[in-house]
């Protein structure tokens, strides 16, 4: 395997861990953390590609910068929603939000 493949494998692993966290954890805070993990996994991939992929012109680095910014915004919004919900319902367990279904 080329170095890039290793990096991509790492990214993939981290991404999967993050995804597993989203699926498995009930605490919304942890879920948000997992989401961040997923984004950062992609960041690793992007930087790695930019570094190792021929002719990639380094756009990946640029991309990852954007992603970092967006991730921050995302967390902000997410936590805001969690807090608002906590005020209303006194819980951060996302299982408790299943009033609407079917």
């Amino acid at each position: 395997m080329s170095p890039l493949d290793w990096w991509l494998l790492l990214a993939m692993l981290l991404f999967c861990i993050g995804a597993f966290g989203v699926l498995a954890r009930r605490n919304t805070i942890v879920v948000i953390m997992s989401l961040e993990l997923m984004l950062n996994a992609v960041n690793i991939a992007l930087v790695a590609i930019a570094q190792f992929r021929a002719g990639s012109q380094g756009a990946g680095v640029l991309f990852s910068l954007f992603v970092i910014t967006l991730a921050a915004a995302e967390v902000t919004v997410g936590l805001g929603i969690v807090i608002a919900n906590y005020r209303a319902k006194r819980t951060v367990e996302n299982d408790h939000f299943d009033e609407m279904k079917g």
Binding site: A19, L23, R25, R26, D95, D98, K101, G102
Partner: protein, 636 residues
Amino acid sequence: MEAADSMKIAVILIVLLPLVGFITTLLFGKRMGGKAHIVPVALVTVTAALAVYAFGWVFQHQEEPFVWDAFSWIVAGRYHASWGFQVDTLTGIMLLVVGIIGMLTHYYSIGYMRGDGGYYRFFAYLNLFMFAMYMLILADNFLLLFLGWEGVGLCSYLLIGFWFDRKSASQAGKKAFLVNRVGDFGFTLGMFLVLVTTGTLQFAGVFDKAETIGAGTLLWICLLLFTGAVGKSAQFPLHVWLPDAMEGPTPVSALIHAATMVNAGVYMVARAYPLFAQSETAMLVVMVVGTFTAIFAACIAITQNDIKKVIAYSTISSLGFMFMALGAGAWVAGIFYLFVHGFFKGLLFLCSGSVIHAMGGEQDMRKMGGLRTRIPVTFWTMLIAAVALVGIFPLSGFWAKDEILGGAFAHGYYVVWLVGIVTAFLTAVFAFRMMFMTFWGESRADAEVQAHIHESPKVMTVPLVLLAIPAAAVGAVVGWPPEAGWIHRFLDPVFFAVEHEEFEWLGTGGALMAVSLAVALLGVYLAYVLYLRRRELPERLAARVPWAYEASLRKMYMDDIYEVVPVRSTIAFSRFLWTGFDVHVIDGAVNGIARLWGWFGDRLRPLQTGRVHNYAFGILAGALALVVIVGWVWGI
């Protein structure tokens, strides 16, 4: 063919005047109340005069019938049918019967129907009937004939059910129409076959090509057309409507169910002579059906107690006689019988009407008796009619009946002849059974009815007398000498290929004549014995063979069979189709699909758990599945 303009006018008027009478009476008759008969009766009288005129015309132009395509009716594709009229000698005979009896019946009805709530309606219907009947006999093509054919059927329906507030009447009307429809079914198909085979429905056109039609097709055509005749002329097994038709007012029975409409089948077969004459098998069928019907109906007539039922079965029997004649090849004899039968059977009915009128509506002969002196005009006219029916020399029936039997014998149908003789015997028995029970003996009516018995008014008795004359004499006039009478010569152009029988007074002909006369007289005597002298004998006889008596009384169970086999089974099957097939199978499938889809939707709903991580899992799983499927498609 250049036809006389006067004839065109006459024909048009013959057809239109009754129609005008119908419409005006329907629209304004109610306001005229008891005078509602004036217009229709006047119109029918004029029409009868015109009919006689037309007959006179055809009398002068025997060899060249009047044919006139007035205007086209249906033009579609390669087919064409028109409002076309034809007057030949056969039509002439029919015109006479229809015109005269029709007119007399109208007069008679003025008295008979007086005071009825539907007085105007009755005359309107009668006029409509006259229109349709004239249409039937004047038509120059099968389709127009069918129009008249159905038209008379309709009027029959309306007039049988005239007293629609009686359940039996409304039932009988419907029955008549429906049974006739069965016949029409065949007739329609017959027309289709004619049309498809020859490309036209016009009589002349069809008959010109008659010889080119293949034997099988021809047989089918004849049989199908004959099916129609069986229905209209009340032949077995479609005869069941006619006895019930007696629910109608008696003038109707006389006009429609004895003298005119029921003869339409015979007329039609005679009209289609060029077709039938080509097909021996068809002729055989016609003869067998006619013969069987003749004796079959006579067997039933012999036990009936309702005076009109007796005459009705007698009519069926007589019609059977006519078909027997046609089938046996005695074409002229058949029409001859039709001609005279119209007069004496019409008279018989009108007389029975007079009797019923006198008895205050009573029709059961067991409650009559001794009327001979109370209503003499009716008695004498009815006696003439009965004697004519039975066929006793020298009254009309004798000549015609004898020619039929002679014809059958001459053509070698000895069995048919024998059956005919037996029928004649039975006819004599039941006719005079009726006469004896009604007019002789002591009266068996209630005292109240007794007091009420009276001779009918002039307006009724005069037509009786007028009808009695032809009923008595016309047979001898047109039928003398036997097998060579005027009517034979007259009808020659129509039945162009019929060979004349030689009649020898001192040969077979004379012998047969003697036998039939003897048989008739024997029958009368038997009736005399059974119903006047030894009145206990019939009961004992009935007790001896109860099954036979019962069968005869119950009309050979025909109504019961019809009730069970076609009627109930059709209804049951229809019910099944509706509630079983329509509602459950088709709609079940439709609603089932709808329900299935709803069920499918409901089953999907639990997947929508409302939980975030389930959703996320769904997304991931979906993504993986997509990768797998798409990857698999490209074999990676």
